[in-house]
């Protein structure tokens, strides 16, 4: 499946969707006014990837911060991956947060409480 790379902008994160490796990466900040416009193509890609996924799918989320409209879109990504997990495919969420960044740590906990996916919280040193 086609690999999609989007470079970061002041308001949107770096994104890499690698269908060959089964890896999704979202890194940087996510604060667009219109998050749906930014995330819809990514969610559509994951939807399509779900038709013929790898045995193992990894999603790395390493966000500095994100706005509330992005939070819903990120949840939608997790929901798509949750469908794969329910079908028996392995899915791993790696949630990165900077040392002492309680807000980002708690955001990871929020998603863990809502979504049924294996979550690994990874602290990064400043």
């Amino acid at each position: 499946m086609e690999t999609i790379i989007r470079e970061d902008t002041p308001k949107t994160p770096y994104v890499k969707l690698d269908g060959e490796k089964g890896v999704v990466e979202i890194k940087g900040r996510s604060i667009p006014e219109n998050s749906v416009e930014f995330y819809k193509p990514l969610i559509d890609w994951i939807d399509e990837y779900g038709d013929d996924p790898k045995d193992n799918t990894i999603i790395n989320i390493q966000l500095e911060y994100f706005n509330t409209s992005s939070s819903k879109c990120i949840l939608d990504i997790f929901k798509k991956l949750e469908l794969l997990f329910k079908k028996g495919f392995k899915v791993q969420v790696n949630w990165y947060y900077e040392e002492d960044d309680e807000d980002m740590f708690e955001a990871g906990e929020d998603y863990q409480s809502i979504i049924n996916l294996p979550f690994k919280m990874i602290e990064m040193e400043e």
């Binding site: 002041p10 308001k11 604060i31 006014e33 809502i114």
Partner: protein
């Protein structure tokens, strides 16, 4: 020229809100481009770069959420306002005020929205930290995005991140408009 109506003086209000070390101030049309520039200015402010990472990120995050709340929810101001006539007119400032950072926003809303805003803020202010957290998770997990993209989480996120109550005033301005003043304190 001064914008004074029904005892409310916009210039005096603004001058009062600028007390402290001003990191950012703006009066005019709130647009995505303006928010990008504002954030850039805030991120490069020497008053913030010396703060610890968690405080800095909290300030950026809350500031963006406040600005985007303005962008999505302002009503057109009264006609003839000397401070500006753009339909997306708003005022915003970020000030280092004693031991706090304060984000202040001011904008006109239609009188018909007053009760909704008042009830919403009073409800959020009545919640404990744990209740705020639970409500946030509940809305995140269960409610669809609103047309404006916020999903009803904006104010809640601000309260959660700051751990402080929202301070607000609704100043009657004319028969149609109310001036909505909001102060968010980040410690």
């Amino acid at each position: 020229m001064q914008d004074i109506k029904m005892g409310f003086n916009l210039e005096e209000w603004y001058a009062h809100k600028l007390q402290g070390d001003v990191i950012f101030k703006y009066t005019g049309s709130i647009s995505p481009e303006m928010i990008t520039h504002a954030l850039d200015a805030v991120e490069n402010s020497p008053l913030l770069t010396k703060e610890r990472l968690q405080t800095r990120k909290k300030v950026y995050n809350v500031f963006v959420e406040c600005m985007q709340n303005l962008y999505h929810h302002v009503d057109a101001p009264p006609a003839g306002l000397s401070a500006g006539g753009s339909p997306n007119f708003g005022i915003a400032c970020l000030v280092h005020d004693g031991s706090f950072f304060r984000v202040t926003t001011g904008n006109f809303i239609l009188r018909s929205k007053v009760n909704f805003i008042k009830d919403r803020i009073e409800q959020l202010n009545s919640l404990s930290d744990e209740e705020v957290r639970m409500l946030y998770r509940d809305i995140l997990g269960n409610e669809a995005l609103s047309e404006k993209g916020g999903g009803g989480l904006g104010m809640l996120d601000i309260v959660r991140k700051t751990g402080n109550k929202l301070e607000y005033f609704l100043y009657p301005y004319d028969g149609e408009h109310i001036f909505f003043s909001l102060d968010v304190y980040i410690s």
